[in-house]
Symmetry: C2
Subunit: 334 residues, 2 copies
């Protein structure tokens, strides 16, 4: 178990982000952007894969688990790749290995981590620290910085003009997240009490919010609460998973603001008709009208994550099972 150092200050982070952008802009050619990590850090990659894949023409983007990435040993890895990695402790062995592997093959490697002295920070060519814990700013957490990085990448490689509105949106996150968390406090507390004995809770989303649903399923529910879960893609729901829908089966469904909103809405309409136990969280209630309309969709996950955390905190409280408890992680070799 790593004792985490104090958070990186914002000036250092801004300088690191700027240096990474300059390095990407200086590449003679970019054919692929690989976003690779494990677990919660992998989940953070997913909305960025969405943005890059949706907007980019001259390069492709993929999010991939770091162990899968290295094991595949894909032939395309090389100097025309940007490989972006993330690990909170910077010690995740699979992610460190992925950085070393990609860098040895000539890819530009950029790591996000909370630990600037970690093996990942040392393995990657560029590092961007992020804040976490007491005193952090929502503008300097990993998902916000990663979004700024890929928006900058799209600007610098393809003239996307996304950094202006994205950076402005990220700058308002403390205010937006604070208000959204406060607005959900009572509902979350009631939810935690009502669902405290559930053995299983599904999550659902599509598009740029699928990562938030996935993270809640595997990190908050499975890992931190030992509640069975699966993140169901809203577009897949009607092609199998919906048959487990029952008046008694709990779902947490996210409705975002990007191009896939209609896909999520269709699934939610069915869910709420056939189940009495669906919690719907709609980004339309997050007050995102204050940010540029063109980036509201891609910014929504930056609010979903901390709002979902309020529900996790409430579940943990009413279950008497702190989010910090583990039975295997950090307690044994594996």
């Amino acid at each position: 178990m790593t004792v985490l150092a104090a958070s990186t200050d914002s000036a250092t982070i801004e300088a690191q982000l700027a240096a990474a952008r300059i390095a990407i802009a200086a590449l003679p050619d970019v054919k692929r952007v690989v976003l690779t990590a494990c677990g919660g850090s992998y989940a953070v990659m997913l909305p960025n894969e969405y943005l890059l894949s949706t907007r980019a023409v001259s390069f492709s983007a993929e999010a991939i688990n770091a162990a899968e990435f290295t094991s595949r040993d894909a032939r395309f890895i090389g100097p025309d790749n940007v490989v972006i990695l993330c690990s909170h402790s910077g010690e995740t062995p699979e992610t460190v290995a992925a950085a070393k592997y990609a860098r040895a093959l000539g890819a530009l490697t950029i790591a996000l981590t909370h630990e600037l002295a970690s093996p990942l920070a040392q393995a990657a060519e560029h590092v961007i620290g992020y804040q976490h814990g007491t005193g952090k700013s929502e503008s300097y957490v990993a998902p916000a910085l990663l979004l700024r990085l890929v928006a900058g990448l799209l600007d610098d490689r393809e003239g996307a003009a996304l950094s202006g509105p994205i950076d402005a949106a990220v700058a308002r996150l403390d205010e937006l997240v604070g208000a959204a968390r406060a607005a959900h406090a009572d509902a979350a507390n009631a939810y935690g009490f009502a669902y405290r004995d559930e053995p299983l809770i599904y999550t659902m989303a599509a598009g740029s919010n699928f990562g938030s649903a996935y993270s809640f399923a595997i990190c908050l529910l499975q890992e931190m609460q030992w509640i069975h879960s699966a993140a169901i893609h809203a577009g897949e729901y009607f092609h199998g998973p919906f048959e487990v829908t029952d008046v008694r089966v709990p779902f947490i469904a996210l409705v975002g603001l990007d191009g896939t909103r209609a896909v999520e809405e269709r699934a939610v309409a069915f869910l709420t008709k056939h189940s009495e136990r669906t919690l719907v969280i709609d980004a339309a209630t997050f007050g995102l009208e204050v940010i540029d309309e063109s980036v509201r969709g891609i910014a929504a996950h930056l609010v979903f994550n901390p709002v979902l955390r309020v529900y996790a905190d409430a579940l943990a409280d009413h279950r008497g099972h702190p989010l910090s408890v583990r039975r295997y992680m950090w307690r044994m070799e594996y």
Copy 2:
């Protein structure tokens, strides 16, 4: 509910496959291959995304749910794309819409379907029929034909020389699958009896077999047995999901023969140490020594799928819940 026509004969399929290959080979440029479908047909795409992404240098490949694909309206869609689609009935609205959308933007569209007169067959530029049901050959089911198609694509665009060993492997599938199914018959029957009352069974895999684990979770367990499930990526397991591992929680873990085997083995080693209820199915027992070593890994899913079906049949039998029963699908508008 569609009444399915008799299966397409092998000569027709071979001609369709050859025509699709010629069309791909004739493209002036291929930058992206998109594999898009829904549910079980989406699952069939995943091992092919693995093969394409692992081997290709001059183009990228992605598998994506058809509703997500169309909703994203990604800027890269155009004449340098090959878009491969699949729908059993050929009537899946999202997949038909994806074919029309991609074709209108100039992409080369190739559809696999059991129904040659279906909307999907009409929407796509090329169609490849596949066999299903009584009298089918395992060499002419969708996963086998799709693998031959993408192997041909890799050969024709990049000189991969995969079609020889892949086609030879596919030609032996009736024999290989028959033997593997027979070898698992007793174990599957015992499994179906022992697990007949389970409310939840997880599946796990990585690499080219993740699609088989995903398909079993969402189609066989959730859809056809109303058993809760999630397909856990073996590389993600230690980063969250493994905390739900318990001596009582059942898992079905696949161990394949591709580059990710070590990732799967690591997860299985933990699982079998901490749970008494893990079913491990190892492709090393499938007799794949008779096919070329270079393609054993990518061919394994062609045996996993029908072997897993033996377990689903046994569960259905002992639960008194036929695989054909649905509560929503085909029974109402949604």
